[in-house]
């Protein structure tokens, strides 16, 4: 129990005083508080130990073994990691995923910002209806959305290419064309970015009118106000959307799974689209874990994924330092 006792600052706010610092023994009331607190959080505690901590450590262990679910894992050291570095499929899945992250996420974040700015202007009537429309794609199940988009983007009869034909553009093969398949996914991501729009709207509504008025007094036009008032003021929301978007892109699975299952599978039943153009990191992991039952290798892939997500988050946080304005910090 004493192991849980922490120096002040980590304890409940306002309860920690200097006199407490040296005191490791808990009073009766404190003991009761600790017992009650732990009792209330016990569901999470059990879940954390059984469904987070143990499996995370176990998969780290598996990643150093040859493990095919039916046999006991056999220690092979860094073999899985060496295999991974030399596996062209791993690199393919990584570049596919990075494309989605580097091209798709910023695009979705910018388009959503544009929509939010349009919605946030004064005197827009029926804002509720517009909000409903832009959020609707988020509500419908990912599988249904993917099936819908296979249809919309089908090369000959699809609505998108038929519309393009009307204006004299020959549309691409989308999911059937390795060069265009990922752009199809990006299009879907932009369409389903309604939650990002809502988050921006919340942030935009928090920007003080006085700032705009001050800018107007200084003769600022619409662009200057956007560039020097709006964007700095909502920069925490932009950063948040970039980070959550990047994390989601790294783990993207359902759309590509459904599309590649519909557009054509590999001979071994693996999934990844035409010429593996839709083989994202999560799909490669799924193929290895649940098609080839290479549980050790799949665990190594999972740990590399975790490290990449942590690195990407840190890079975004660091790059945004000095560029993101936090009201409370000023």
């Amino acid at each position: 129990m004493t192991a849980l006792a922490k120096p002040p600052g980590t304890g409940a706010p306002g309860t920690a005083g200097p006199s407490r610092f040296a005191r490791l023994k808990l009073t009766r009331a404190e003991r009761r508080g600790l017992r009650t607190g732990l009792l209330f959080i016990s569901p999470w505690l059990v879940g954390f130990l059984a469904f987070n901590l143990y499996p995370a450590l176990a998969s780290l262990y598996y990643s150093f073994t040859n493990f095919k679910i039916l046999q006991e894992p056999r220690w092979t050291g860094l073999d899985n990691y060496a295999k991974l570095i030399n596996d062209p499929i791993f690199w393919k899945s990584l570049t596919n995923t990075l494309y989605l992250t580097v091209v798709g996420v910023p695009l979705a974040v910018v388009v959503a910002l544009g929509i939010a700015l349009l919605l946030n202007r004064k005197g827009i009537r029926g804002i509720g209806i517009f909000r409903t429309i832009f959020y609707l794609p988020v509500v419908i199940p990912g599988v249904a959305a993917a099936i819908l988009w296979i249809f919309l983007l089908s090369p000959v009869n699809g609505l998108v290419n038929q519309s393009l034909r009307v204006v004299g553009i020959a549309g691409p093969g989308w999911f059937y064309d390795p060069a265009w398949a990922k752009n199809g996914i990006i299009l879907m991501t932009i369409w389903a970015a309604g939650d990002v729009v809502i988050i921006y709207l919340g942030a935009l509504q928090g920007v003080s009118r006085a700032l705009y008025e001050a800018a107007e007094v200084d003769g600022a036009g619409a662009w200057v106000k956007l560039r020097h008032v709006t964007i700095p003021m909502i920069s925490p929301a932009i950063l948040f959307n970039l980070i959550t978007g990047a994390i989601a892109a790294f783990q993207s699975f359902t759309q590509a799974f459904v599309i590649s299952a519909g557009v054509g599978r590999g001979n071994d039943g693996s999934i990844g689209g035409v010429q593996n153009s839709l083989l994202f990191y999560g799909l490669n992991l799924y193929n290895n874990g649940f098609r080839y039952f290479q549980m050790g290798y799949a665990s190594a892939l999972a740990w590399i994924l975790l490290i990449m997500i942590l690195v990407a988050t840190l890079v975004l946080l660091r790059a945004s330092r000095n560029r993101v304005y936090y009201e409370s910090a000023q």
């Binding site: 922490k6 980590t10 409940a12 995370a56 598996y62 599988v143 249904a144 099936i147 709207l201 999972a302």
Partner: protein, 264 residues
């Protein structure tokens, strides 16, 4: 305003096209240039989809998954959030940081060991791997409810404590009723999340008779390739209940999403 209307039409078009196609025959759906309002309107795709993908069974399976998950999430997250927000104990904030840290853990990292455990327990092809974890709290909702609970007036609770009420009783009779909006938001977000969940059922539910709508419609798609009216009807049937729920509970949705952004 014009730009907004054009964008809204663009965003709506896929839905309109989905519904329009679901009311056509296969021949009608292949006509070029495309026709928006089918003539005649046929419901055959819907009746076919209902029977061929065994919709009632898949619908029931989805509810078997989503309803207990909502109960489990709301109950466990309110208990845990109460422990973090309104009970004072040493180490509480450190422990809460761990809750926040687990949000960063991608599910793929725990997937394989969990699969191994569930296989050993004989839980594959049951709903247990999907349902049991929902009774053990979800970090994001714990966070959300904790924020909500911390903003509540303490006087009522202190008065109840003086009257000798237990903490559990305070949660049940004072805190929970006062946080009904937040609890409903958590419930609705969980419901959509489970309704749409594809990965969990894909991994754990291989038997066709156990598959919820999300998985059933995907299997259906691989069987009916390019029969678009049929596939669109099936997609409409899978999406419709959520869309209806969304129209009734829009405010809750938007509040939930706005709260998501607040943590940024």
């Amino acid at each position: 305003m014009v730009a907004l209307i054009v964008l809204a039409v663009v965003y709506l078009t896929p839905f309109v096209w989905m519904i329009s196609t679901s009311l056509k025959t296969l021949q009608q759906s292949l006509v070029s240039p495309p026709v928006l309002v089918p003539n005649p309107i046929v419901f055959k795709a819907f009746t076919d989809a209902l029977t061929k993908m065994n919709y009632p069974l898949a619908f029931r399976n989805t509810l078997i998954y989503a309803v207990p998950a909502v109960i489990g999430t709301v109950v466990s997250c309110s208990l845990v959030a109460y422990g973090f927000a309104l009970v004072r104990w040493r180490g509480r904030n450190t422990m809460f940081l761990i809750v926040l840290a687990t949000m960063m853990l991608p599910s793929q990292v725990t997937l394989i060991p969990l699969y191994v455990i569930y296989a050993k327990l004989g839980w594959i092809n049951t709903y247990l791997p999907l349902l049991v974890p929902t009774f053990l709290g979800s970090p994001f909702f714990i966070f959300l409810l904790r924020q909500f609970f911390m903003g509540m007036p303490k006087e009522l609770m202190d008065a109840a404590r003086l009257d000798g009420a237990s903490e559990l009783r305070i949660l049940a009779t004072i805190v929970a009723p006062l946080s009904a909006p937040a609890l409903i938001t958590v419930g609705i977000l969980t419901f959509i999340d489970k309704w749409n969940d594809f990965y969990g059922p894909l991994i754990y539910l291989q038997k066709p008779e156990l598959q919820p709508l999300s998985l059933a419609v995907q299997v259906f798609q691989t069987q009916h390739g390019t029969d678009w009216p049929l596939l669109m009807a099936a997609s409409v049937l899978v999406a419709a209940p959520l869309v209806v729920l969304y129209f009734f509970a829009q405010r809750k949705f938007i509040e939930g999403i706005t709260l998501t952004g607040l943590k940024g």
